[in-house]
């Protein structure tokens, strides 16, 4: 966990001085130092249940050097070279072509990039790819059964729970995450469950209906995953 790194390494991100940050930047940063200094935004997310790796390594990277990374996405192992600063969202979309996960704001406001990290919905834009190592990452594509739609996806189709469809992958993943935790949510719980996912077309009403239908589909079928 990242907050563990902070404890082990001493200075918390806020305590790193400008000079220390500048030194890190010029000399190249350790992965752990990098996480401590840059991953401020991600800490809040990952600390809640992510499983970013905290290796006791002292590996030093030059600014343009790539880090080796293994990601487990939708049950498949990907071995990659990444810049430590790349977000999980960037890696998913631009490096791996998993474009079911959408990009809306890159600052943790809209939820278009929602993925499941160990079963919990999280924003891929607020997570560095290196933080996601060792985690089970599930994207929209991972909710499919081959070419067949999963129950949440099927419910979204039936209730026309989208318009332009761009926030939809995030909404579907958020509902999937909600139902894994709470298989029979009330309308109020559904509203809260997707409250981190903006829909500018305003499809919320149909999204609520779809979530209720998805809960039924999942319980009726035993549900996929």
């Amino acid at each position: 966990m990242i907050d563990e790194i902070h404890r082990e390494d001493g200075p918390s991100p806020s305590r790193l001085s400008e000079t220390e940050l500048a030194e890190n930047a010029t000399e190249g940063v350790t992965r752990r130092g990098f996480l401590a200094s840059i991953g401020v935004g991600a800490v809040a997310v990952a600390a809640g249940g992510g499983s970013a790796s905290a290796r006791p390594s002292t590996e030093v990277l030059k600014p343009d050097e790539m880090a080796k990374l293994t990601l487990k996405i939708n049950g498949r192992i990907y071995r990659l070279l990444v810049e430590p600063r790349w977000s999980l969202l960037y890696v998913l979309r631009e490096e791996l072509g998993l474009t079911g996960t959408k990009v809306g704001c890159e600052r943790g406001e809209c939820g278009a990039c929602t993925v499941l990290i160990d079963g919990r919905p999280q924003y891929a834009c607020l997570m560095l790819a290196v933080e996601a190592e060792d985690a089970e990452i599930t994207t929209l594509e991972g909710l499919m059964d081959g070419q067949e739609l999963g129950p949440v996806q099927q419910a979204f189709v039936e209730h026309d729970a989208f318009q332009c469809g761009y926030c939809t992958p995030g909404q579907i993943v958020a509902v999937e995450g909600l139902l894994r935790k709470n298989p029979d949510p009330s309308l109020d719980e559904i509203r809260t469950g997707v409250s981190g996912n903006l829909c500018r077309c305003g499809a919320y009403g149909h999204i609520f209906e779809a979530a209720q239908k998805a809960a039924k589909l999942k319980s009726g079928q035993g549900g996929k995953s």
Partner: protein, 774 residues
């Protein structure tokens, strides 16, 4: 008498052949089998599985990423740009400024000339330089390394100050954009003299930003001398035109593809600088280039619904007859001409019967991003004033607000010259049926009986409305191919911006040819391969392209029946298509499978070209609506909870019930944003946009929308409008929402909120003011 009128006259009371003769407009459908049913979208699978490739999803192995440096000031002159450090940034493949070779390119806003990189930046975010790099991270490293020397100039950021004598001029010649637009009928002074009650009020609506979920941008690749652009756009042909003009390319050499797009709401009707910059970089580097703006940039440079400052004076007789309406509006399209006041006066001119009307709208320049059309441009703003005034008038003469509106229903368009009649006018039905379904009278009586004492107060409100466009128009052409196995390929240029266009077009084909939806493949929104279409905006895609699809299907059917008539030894007009067979209507035993038709087996495919005919001359096609809502106001916190909404809409025939309802709930949700949560905040001291993100600029979320939204379509038959009988829907659904909420809040607490947004900040201030007076 024009040809359309003759035809309808001729058809009056006559049996209509199911398939019209070539050149005839098909008669309205009677019983439908597919249209109006509410089937899931034809592209639903693609959209929920992640297999739909949106422009921002386009990816090439050798693709580079570009980014644009925007001016950080609302008004500044670029003295010099130092790109030396930027070009040395690791991964940077190119830097561009206005002085780069080939980058000194003209750009225009309506008639006002500018440049892609204009050395005078008149609004925050205008392009100063651009870079292209291996990754977006490197691109932003390089952007940050660009050093710009600006001469910071004085600015004006509030349109209310733009005409003051000391206001800095955005352009030489002052800040007024042309002469004020004026409109007058009758004599308002006479009208006010005839009135028993005259009321006057000021209204303001804040600037609203589109912020569609998919960022604005494109991926660009040169294939030899052909420029291919995957763009998140509402109109591929509109982008093609502007890019070809700007870069001096033949139209045929600019291929724009926008098969999927993640929302636009008007902000993606036009072309932006990024497409040009990406094309230049792609040429220079001989690599595909992806250039999407950042979310913050989309708040600055790709349009807005402009703010308005309105006054409305209204005269009325005790019996509810409107005698005069006098309206003024001051608005702004930003730093360049952008129709800052378009459509704002329309509802005052056209909605309710009134013999004496005078309107004046003044558009001014300010140092802020140029406006773009935003879902029903001008209308929610005008509705905010007119519909609140109607309620105030009703109260003044002690009349039910619904009754007052019903007293003043026109059957012709007063706002246009010639008092032309509407093809259908459902305003009355929307008010009557809407009120009935909402239980308006019962709820009103119940609220009047109850003495509300606690800090939670309940109220109901409503507003009527219409949308000025929404009737559709030529041009539109469609190519339909029927294959020998009975499957169909539909080729159209229109974008499906999320409204369900593709699904509706497929339903029209199904209705006409009996082909199930899963045997229809649609190719759309690609200037290289699909038919011409105007951009999807104005709520006109269905009424414009739908009749062309039907025309194409009818032509294919005519050909099919002609071929089958040889096999069946029948007249083509006696034949029809049922479930993959051509069947004689006179003798049901005479039937042949489509694929078995002799000549068809040889030809393999029947191609039909459909076109959109002209609209009826001397008539106006407009959608109408009325929305009703119930709210709860917490007078301690200033919070307003939306309990329920009911939307009664006359948009002609319901083409697909599912997507129809989606439009309704979406329009109301967006109207909730306009009325209750959204406002652009420009800092008074710096002129910079304070809330360029979704955290500080609040959209309605899943927790803010009404628990219950009831969609009540009033399917008034409209055979004159077009051959499918549908009128536009996407925009009228957001016109009356804000005003209906304001009226409900007034009903609950007796406070008129005349400025948007009705948020706790404002409501608390108004409640405190009232407590001060008590």
């Amino acid at each position: 008498m024009n040809t359309e009128e003759k035809r309808y006259y001729f058809l009056e009371g006559l049996p209509v052949p199911e398939t019209p003769l070539p050149g005839d407009e098909p008669a309205p459908w009677k019983k439908t089998h597919f249209v109006g049913k509410g089937l899931p979208r034809v592209d639903a699978y693609e959209r929920v599985s992640g297999s739909a490739v949106y422009p921002s999803d386009v990816n090439f192995p050798d693709m580079l990423y570009a980014a644009i440096l925007g001016c950080p000031y609302p008004n500044a002159r670029v003295k010099s740009v130092d790109t030396s450090a930027a070009s040395k940034v690791a991964g940077c493949r190119g830097v561009m400024t206005g002085s780069s070779p080939g980058a000194d390119i003209a750009w225009r806003y309506e008639k006002k000339k500018s440049k892609i990189f204009d050395p005078h930046c008149r609004y925050e975010g205008d392009a100063v330089a651009a870079v292209v790099a291996d990754t977006p991270y490197s691109a932003w490293d390089a952007i940050k390394a660009i050093k710009v020397d600006y001469e910071i100039l004085p600015f004006v950021s509030d349109e209310r100050n733009a005409l003051a004598s000391k206001a800095p001029a955005v352009h030489p010649g002052g800040n007024q954009v042309g002469k004020p637009q004026t409109y007058e009928r009758g004599d308002v002074d006479k009208g006010f003299k005839e009135a028993d009650v005259v009321l006057e009020a000021e209204y303001r609506t804040e600037c609203e930003l589109h912020t569609p979920m998919e960022l604005h941008g494109c991926v660009v690749r040169w294939d030899g001398d052909e420029l291919i652009i995957w763009e998140s756009t509402q109109g591929v042909y509109s982008v093609q035109t502007m890019v070809a003009e700007t870069l001096g390319l033949p139209l045929a050499k600019v291929r724009v593809i926008g098969r999927y797009m993640g929302g636009g709401f008007g902000s993606k009707l036009v072309t932006s600088k990024y497409s040009i910059i990406a094309a230049l970089f792609a040429k220079e580097t001989a690599r595909p280039v992806k250039l999407f703006l950042t979310r913050e940039q989309t708040y600055l440079v790709v349009g807005n619904r402009p703010p308005t400052n309105m006054t409305l004076k209204a005269g009325i007789k005790k019996d509810g007859t409107l005698t005069a309406l006098q309206f003024t509006c001051l608005g702004t399209g930003g730093a360049y001409p952008a129709d800052g006041t378009w459509g704002v006066d329309w509802l005052v001119r056209d909605t309710y019967l009134c013999p004496n009307v005078k309107c004046e709208s003044t558009d001014v320049y300010i140092n802020a991003g140029p406006a773009r059309p935003f879902r029903a441009p001008g209308h929610p703003q005008g509705s905010w004033a007119l519909e609140q005034m109607m309620d105030a008038l009703a109260e003044a003469i002690k009349m039910d607000p619904v009754e007052l509106r019903l007293k003043n229903i026109p059957t012709y368009s007063q706002g246009r010259p010639g008092n032309m009649p509407y093809t259908s006018t459902g305003l009355k039905q929307c008010l009557v049926e809407g009120a009935k379904a909402f239980k308006w009278k019962e709820k009103r009586a119940a609220l009047a009986r109850t003495k509300q004492t606690g800090h939670i107060r309940r109220g109901i409100g409503m507003a009527g409305g219409l949308w000025q466009v929404g009737g559709g128009m030529p041009p539109s052409s469609i190519v339909l191919k029927l294959f020998v196995d009975g499957s169909v390929n539909l080729n159209m240029g229109a974008s499906d911006i999320g409204t369900g266009t593709k699904t509706i077009m497929a339903l029209i084909v199904s209705e006409e040819l009996g082909v199930p939806l899963d045997k229809i493949q649609i190719e759309n929104a690609d200037t290289g391969t699909t038919q011409y279409a105007t951009p999807s905006g104005g709520s006109k895609t269905v009424p414009s392209d739908g009749p062309a699809v039907r025309d194409a299907a009818v032509r294919v059917k005519q050909r099919l029946l002609k071929l089958a008539s040889e096999d069946l030894k029948s007249k083509p007009e006696d034949l029809t298509v049922v479930g993959g067979y051509v069947v004689s209507q006179k003798d049901k035993s005479k039937r042949i499978k489509i694929g078995e038709i002799g000549k068809f087996k040889e030809q393999r495919v029947i191609v039909g070209l459909g076109c959109r005919g002209p609209n009826p001359v001397g008539k106006i096609i407009q959608p109408f609506c009325a929305q009703f809502c119930e709210v709860e106001v917490n007078t301690l916190t200033g919070e307003v909870t939306l309990l329920s909404f009911l939307a009664a809409h006359d948009s002609g025939r319901v083409m697909d019930r599912l997507t129809y309802d989606s439009q309704v709930i979406g329009g109301i949700t967006m109207g909730v944003g306009f009325g209750m949560t959204e406002m652009r905040v420009l800092d008074r001291r710096t002129g910079k946009l304070c809330n360029k993100n979704w955290h500080d600029y609040k959209l309605p979320t899943s927790r803010d929308v009404p628990s219950e939204i009831v969609s009540l379509p009033l399917e008034l038959p409209d055979a004159e409008a077009n051959s499918i009988g549908a009128k536009g829907l996407g925009e009228p659904v957001t016109v009356p929402t804000g005003a209906a909420i304001a009226n409900a809040v007034y009903d609950a607490i007796g406070v008129r909120v005349t400025s948007t947004p009705i948020n706790p900040l404002q409501l608390n201030r108004l409640l405190a003011e009232r407590r001060g007076k008590e």
